[in-house]
Symmetry: C2
Subunit: 350 residues, 2 copies
């Protein structure tokens, strides 16, 4: 009986979780009444705790230890209980200022985003570079480097840049290369990989004048590069903030550090979370082993998509121990996500 969530129990749960997040030690009934001046005795609190445990929101490690939240407990906290306070105007200003300083350096954005996320959420941060759903050709440049070697710089519509080298049979001067690049630019501007492939196939061989050997070679590289980009679309994940989480008590055994590194570097355990975040609006919070992923049992992730919908998007978020300051982390992820979205919006036109 009475296994229902009364208002008092909710408040108690909230306090317990906040306290645990704060102190990283199991919270005892006694401590709660003292610290927060509850109008009831510790015994009552204990009774309530027992009910919350029955409901699956709390556990304890052994009989004479304080309570700690379960995944479900955290989930309920995140969804119904926690105070959603955005970052302070002061913090927002600082962050905006940092981004303002690198506003023109596209490739710094993800570094900065990861660094700021890590510092403000005190967790490991992960950011995937913003990518278009499908690569579209924007611009090619061929630059003579040395005799028969040519630097091929490829720019896509989402701002991604790829550089490759090309080795030719005979040396050509910059003049010729520029003309070839110009021609390819005209042929391919705004095209998808499929359309460019056609230029190379029989179908495309009807173009006049026929493609020079340089042009063919360059086009082949372009097609290869575009396929490559689409394959590894959101696979490469930039991360930062290892140092931040090392100071947290849950990482006092190296084994944990190794696990996190494996998640961050190889994406082990992250599984479908990134694509999922990419496909859905709003903030995704995954607590512990919620989705049955064993490697993640001890960790939580908060992810958010960012970017211009339908044009160029990425995912950013934080990874930390299950005992994570959810309100703050979520606010941080949300804010940085917005900042990045705005930046990209300015770049590509909202």
């Amino acid at each position: 009986m009475s296994a229902e969530l009364t208002e008092r129990r909710k408040q108690l749960l909230k306090l317990i979780i906040q306290e645990y997040i704060d102190t990283a030690t199991p919270v005892a009934s006694e401590v709660l009444v003292r610290k927060y001046g509850l109008p009831v005795s510790s015994a009552t609190v204990r009774n309530e705790m027992a009910v919350l445990e029955e409901l699956g929101l709390l556990t304890h490690l052994h009989t004479s230890a304080g309570r700690i939240p379960t995944d479900a407990g955290y989930r309920y906290f995140v969804e119904n209980l926690m105070d959603r306070s955005p970052l302070s105007p002061q913090e927002q200003r600082t962050i905006r200022h940092q981004f303002y300083q690198v506003r023109s350096e596209l490739d710094q954005w993800i570094h900065l985003a990861a660094a700021v996320l890590a510092r403000h959420a005190q967790a490991a941060a992960l950011v995937t570079p913003p990518r278009a759903y499908e690569a579209r050709y924007k611009h090619l440049e061929l630059i003579a480097i040395h005799e028969t070697t040519v630097l091929l710089v490829l720019v896509f519509q989402d701002g991604t840049i790829k550089q490759q080298t090309l080795t030719l049979n005979e040396s050509h001067d910059q003049e010729v290369l520029s003309r070839s690049a110009g021609r390819i630019n005209q042929l391919c501007s705004g095209r998808r990989v499929g359309e460019i492939e056609q230029l190379l196939s029989a179908e495309g061989s009807s173009i006049e004048p026929p493609l020079s050997s340089i042009e063919r070679l360059a086009l082949e590289q372009i097609v290869r590069a575009m396929h490559q980009i689409e394959e590894q679309a959101n696979e490469q994940i930039h991360h930062d903030g290892l140092l931040e989480i090392l100071s947290q008590p849950e990482f006092s055994q190296v084994e944990r550090v190794r696990q996190v590194l494996e998640i961050l570097e190889h994406g082990r355990g992250l599984g479908p979370l990134i694509p999922q975040a990419l496909a859905s609006d709003g903030i995704q919070v995954v607590i512990g082993g919620e989705h049955g992923r064993d490697e993640m049992r001890e960790y939580s992730v908060i992810l958010s998509r960012y970017g211009v919908d339908g044009s160029v998007v990425g995912v950013l978020g934080v990874l930390g121990p299950r005992r994570m300051p959810y309100p703050r982390s979520i606010s941080t992820v949300r804010y940085i996500s917005n900042v990045m979205t705005n930046l990209l919006g300015e770049l590509y036109g909202e």
Copy 2:
């Protein structure tokens, strides 16, 4: 008396160090005679060990513990004792093959170098991107992205690419931008930053026709970017292989992990080692706190310059615990350094 380094003592020292590197536990006299079938008794070995300790080549943590090498011991080992065996042809082939696969992707080289170093030397790897001593302008491209925003892609003679965005007062079409870029390319090709600055100053205002506002803006960005590149010349260090060293016993306390992270991410403690390696031929081995750097007392680094002398150079190497398989690490660093040097040589002409 008799505190001199006889042949037998040298051989003993070599064995002790090899054994310690292997097992990570202080080595006992008894173990040595048994494992290597020495023609003397453990007592004799103990006497010899005492002499080696007197010479400052060995220590022990407490009276009844086996011996471990001191920095000087390792140093003597590296310089006079160890077997210098290059990587096996099999390994060399594997490595060359891996590099062959990414031969055209310039920006993959440092990633691959770090990854291969880390895996083969079982240590943390660090690689600075290859840089010219001073930046020289190679090529500029201006690409209209959206209304008044323009993507500026800047290529330097050493292959470095920088991308920036530029916001103009009014929108211009690609035609105009390309013409401006072409003009700047003509003006700046192969120039150093100083010469380009002159174009912007009073002295340069005599060019005809006078620079358009777009051209001025672009030039300003170019100058800024070149200064930036020269400042952070070899400051950014790419690293890899944290996971490799985590499994080593010396990193069983997180504190050590933090230290290494701080060295790798912020270059703390590396101090002048990188510039030093950049300035000298051959392989640099720094063992423990040899050069009085306290943060490094527990670690050793092996660095090598790579690249085309006088044209474009970088530094690569490994960082590991003092107890490091020096012969193997040194061979690996040497080999990868050669591979990278060859790759760059092909690119820029030997």
